[in-house]
Symmetry: C2
Subunit: 418 residues, 2 copies
């Protein structure tokens, strides 16, 4: 198989389909989503068979248990895919919205119209449900999609692709509006991320290694979702109860998510009072603490944190703790070590809260709230394709709007420039 | 000189200065702009001396007359720089604006705050006034800037840089908030566009060759401004007077700008009526027409257009003319040959106007208006750093907003996720 020729064909078809999708009405795109949901429901047997092949292959290749778990399409996961499609169908259509319409002194009327990006390439790892999730968000926002899933999920993904094709066909949209790459050859990824003629943006979903590799090699813009080294700073004017609740929730509500707190900063003025309470709470939850020397003075049992700890995303029941000399020190530490994902201050002090919001350069900055809220659903976006740690285009949780652009529309009545 | 080490130092200083600029108040940034204006006014002699050195060098190196003209800092151009600084100072500050603030079912309050991008790298060619223009827009929008002008303008740019430094210092901002690269070594550009640690976005200003080269080699997002192959489509339901005015204005108001029409499309139903009138008007203006065979049937004197003409940005008194079979044909031609910059339809037909707006995939789409309106000032942005032909981040004329990003702000009262 000539991978370059195959991917160019996929790209060309996507570019062509993108025009049809961009032109389509809200009703047609929603119909495609609902018809795909029905097709998935009707194809449970085929999905199970395809998934069993992948699982068998995975076991034969010695995939870890966690990988196999992510690969599995249980009936509950198929239910969730179907429900997800219905939810996306019920979201408001971002496309075509015209805003900021004003008359200019010249007499022309100028505004902005929200439009699809065009063709979106999605590169992801094992979970086959991402196929439906990503395709549905791209379709809803008027884009064509090229999906490249993990090779271990190829049969499951192709079975899902068949359902998507059926849904598209039933609604009168071109089947190539959603294409799942048919080859597991890694060269296909290299082609996909270097075809600016056919692909407008790449959204990689997966581990940091994957995303860094793609960002480095891409000749197409990438919506990046790198690591989440999130901080909670307990200010000396914090309400102790809120501080305790927020710190514990930010760390322990889930350990493996990017919006989980990885470093706790405590103002030195209240460290001696609050750290023992925090240590008790974290001990109860089985969280290992790694502290700076000042933390260890207060909590002698704590492991000594090394320089590396301040820049580590544990994704595990481990927490780095540092005693800080006031707000300036906290902001400095965060702007140095944070991955600019999500950082929260706990304080009752108005001026410090305002300074934290302004001076911490992260995609989500919070006052008296758990970092775990940094999420497209919690923010009311209705959906989330990822959390951008970039500043360009989209920052923070990316919903449908992040998959769109705005063009200028100008209405005249024979106006010319003088 | 170790260029890599020098640029890394410039980058590091810019990153540090960016924090101070981001934190600064509107008043302080405006003060820096106004103080720079005064410094320029006071430095007219130094500017003239430095510019004379550049002009002399340029003549010695055999620069073309057009290049030398662009290089010259006449008193009127210095006046314009000063006036530009005052205008930018008077624009509303985009930074800190909080929008979309809503309460979520969880009880948190979520909104978005407009924030600077951080460090912006500007790469440009001969015109030294770009130094002030670009620096002022970046500073106004809370960013630090690294400017790399053409080597032929190095002395002028350094003299301008001294004024900027003075303005920054007087307002209490770090002088490194605006740095003009001191070396003319081309390797400096290579470093500037591959330092994602220090530079958040690159804005190249210059010819297509420069921008393509930078886009290809950059490891940092680029706000691209490629060519403008703009179309006017005269529909069969056009008002002939509006059609004539718009076509002539779009082509002849200025020839060398990116929003100048390069191809005129005329519906075949009215071609025989309107083309002779258009030909007269263009003959009066000295515009050479190159036509398709159908155009030549009506206007036998016209030069035959080749396939290349449909994809050429003439930037000159030359116009390609094509007779088209209705709206579908026009949209197809435009989506194939347009550079997705600006395209306009002339029609009185409501449905065709709406279809053109929706289906033409360009950064500005117009009804009954001259393409020459596609401009940040005409659109009311108050300023323009370029016109983006990309869809990612900023599309069309880019003003202050395009130099900013939005972060999420979350207000809670001890809220945790359950």
């Amino acid at each position: 198989m000539d991978i370059a020729a195959y991917m160019a064909e996929v790209g060309q078809q996507a570019r062509q389909a993108a025009r049809a999708v961009a032109r389509s009405t809200t009703a047609v795109r929603n119909q495609a989503l609902l018809a795909t949901a029905e097709a998935l429901d009707a194809a449970r047997d085929e999905l199970a068979t395809a998934n069993a092949r992948d699982l068998e292959g995975g076991r034969a290749n010695g995939l870890e248990a966690a990988m196999l778990d992510r690969l599995e399409l249980t009936p509950a996961r198929i239910d969730a895919m179907i429900e997800g499609l219905r939810q996306v169908a019920s979201l408001p259509d971002p496309i075509g919205e015209i805003t900021d319409m004003t008359y200019r002194p010249s007499g022309i009327q100028v505004g902005r119209m929200r439009v699809p990006l065009g063709v979106i390439g999605i590169i992801y790892e094992s979970r086959p449900n991402v196929t439906v999730e990503a395709a549905s968000l791209c379709l809803k926002s008027g884009n064509a999609t090229i999906l490249r899933g993990g090779s271990e999920a190829i049969h499951s993904n192709q079975a899902i692709a068949a359902c998507l094709a059926k849904g598209l066909k039933e609604s009168g949209l071109p089947e190539s509006a959603v294409q799942v790459v048919k080859t597991t050859d890694r060269a296909a990824v290299g082609e996909l991320i270097t075809m600016p003629r056919f692909v407008d943006v790449i959204v990689p979903r997966g581990g940091k290694g994957l995303i860094e590799r793609i960002s480095r090699d891409a000749r197409v813009p990438v919506i990046k979702h790198l690591d989440g080294i999130c901080h909670v700073y307990i200010d000396s004017h914090a309400d102790p109860e809120k501080a305790l609740n927020i710190a514990v929730n930010s760390k322990t509500q889930r350990y493996g998510t990017c919006n989980t707190m990885e470093t706790l900063l405590v103002d030195q003025e209240i460290a001696a009072d609050i750290l023992p309470l925090l240590a008790d709470a974290f001990r109860d939850k089985g969280v290992e603490l790694r502290g700076c020397p000042q933390t260890m003075d207060i909590l002698p049992d704590v492991v000594r944190a090394t320089e590396d700890d301040w820049g580590t995303e544990y994704l595990a029941p481990v927490l780095a703790v540092k005693v800080i000399d006031g707000l300036d020190g906290a902001i400095e530490h965060i702007n140095r070590y944070s991955s600019q994902h999500t950082d929260s201050i706990v304080t009752e002090n108005y001026t410090r809260a305002r300074r934290f919001l302004t001076e911490v350069d992260s995609s989500s900055v919070m006052v008296n709230a758990s970092t775990r809220f940094a999420d497209g659903f919690e923010y009311g976006l209705g959906a989330e394709i990822g959390i951008s740690t970039d500043k360009i285009h989209a920052r923070g949780p990316v919903g449908l709007e992040g998959l769109t652009s705005q063009k200028y529309v100008v209405f005249g009545d024979g106006h010319i420039r003088t």
